[in-house]
């Protein structure tokens, strides 16, 4: 990026408040910009911790549409939008803590690079467990989206041949892409449960699922292992093996890609196998 690109920082603040702002924040409310300035002024002038907290919360809430807007730019890259919004919100909170009104920059302008930076970092950190050539990464992403599209159109998951035809690739290339997908790591088994409402309902549904395990000799050895699984892993395992849902159906139910379901199942089973052996 050339030095000319940062010349905008020399513009007086009012210029940035105007139409020249590069980010469409999607704000609909009366005048969130003025309200933001007001809130930051109150925040700077307040010594009350509780009051400060409330002000920070309101600023964050006010800018959630911005995070949503920015996160959507990274849609279709193989990560659930919800997760992107979540990490983007972390970027937003960081921006609130670091922002200073005296700089004369509008808050949304200031926050945008931080939010985007946080989302990009997420892709970098949670991305490929093994270094995979860019060509394969891109192939995997187009496979994921073509596979989702075809599943919709066909009402079942596609064959390799159908995927190859859709992507105008040969079948070997598709298979190669599917194999490389196994090197992609998005969710750690040790990932803490973030207590999202969506997961909450999953956890609730799991209690009933335990009955589905009746008849399987599991109490002594398996139950503690299942309990140790993260809720999402356990749910996917239950849906596949005790409710007979297909991977595509689970993908839809849980809101992740079929490839992701496949990876989670494969890893969870491997983990259970190892743990059962140790027993």
């Amino acid at each position: 990026m050339s030095t000319a690109d940062i010349s905008s920082q020399r513009h007086p603040a009012p210029d940035l408040e105007g139409t020249g702002t590069p980010v469409d924040t999607g704000f609909e409310s009366a005048d969130p910009r003025a309200r933001t300035v007001q809130l930051f002024e109150q925040l700077a002038g307040s010594d009350d911790v509780e009051k400060q907290e409330a002000l920070r919360n309101e600023i964050v809430r006010l800018h959630l549409p911005l995070v949503d807007h920015l996160a959507r730019r990274f849609r279709n890259r193989g990560e659930p939008l919800d997760d992107l919004v979540q990490v983007g919100t972390i970027g937003l909170i960081k921006s609130v803590d670091r922002f200073e009104l005296t700089r004369g920059v509008e808050f949304s302008t200031y926050a945008t690079p931080t939010v985007i930076g946080e989302i990009k970092r997420y892709f970098r950190d949670k991305g490929w467990a093994v270094r995979v050539p860019r060509r394969l990464q891109e192939l995997r992403l187009s496979l994921a989206s073509a596979s989702a599209d075809l599943t919709q159109e066909l009402g079942r998951s596609p064959t390799v041949g159908e995927l190859a035809e859709r992507l105008e690739l040969n079948q070997d290339a598709v298979l190669e892409g599917l194999e490389s997908a196994n090197a992609y790591n998005t969710l750690s088994l040790d990932a803490p449960d973030n207590g999202e409402s969506e997961r909450q309902t999953m956890v609730e549904s799991l209690a009933a699922d335990d009955e589905a395990l009746e008849g399987v000799e599991y109490r002594e050895s398996l139950k503690p292992l299942l309990t140790a699984l993260a809720p999402r892993e356990k749910l996917i395992l239950m849906l596949r093996f005790f409710h007979g849902m297909t991977q595509s159906q689970i993908a839809q139910e849980v809101g992740i890609s079929q490839m992701h379901v496949s990876r989670i199942l494969s890893r969870t089973l491997a983990q259970l196998r190892t743990s059962l052996l140790d027993h």
């Binding site: 596979s147 079942r156 998951s157 596609p158 064959t159 390799v160 041949g161 995927l163 079948q171 598709v174 298979l175 599917l178 194999e179 008849g215 399987v216 000799e217 599991y218 050895s221 398996l222 596949r240 093996f241 007979g244 297909t246 991977q247 595509s248 079929q258 496949s262 199942l265 494969s266 089973l269 491997a270 259970l272 196998r273 059962l276 052996l277």
Partner: protein, 126 residues
Amino acid sequence: MSRHQVALTVPADSSYVALLRATTAGVAARLDFTLDDIDDLRLAVDEACGLLLRQARPESTLFCGFRMAEPHLSIDVTAQADSPRLPPRDGFAWTVLTSLAGDVHASVDEDSVTLTLSRKREGATP
């Protein structure tokens, strides 16, 4: 030996199971199985190998044979064992295996144990 047969023998070591998984995917794709089914079969082979490797004789080999007879795919996984025994049918691994592969058959002879997974292609247009 039928023309539509693929066989692979690998060391009885979990690090070689990935090779069998990849082959499974390739074979199932040739038969126009859907991605769901391909992944199921891949997991099933994984699980079968896991079950068999528990009793495999050290330094022995794991045999994996694929028989393709449209629209069926049968996979034999055989491990050599000193005192071969059938995997428990009430275990979790067996539950997993049967939901993944559809039809699972286990057999033993004096020095080996074989799991046969059979899956019929469904859904896909012929």
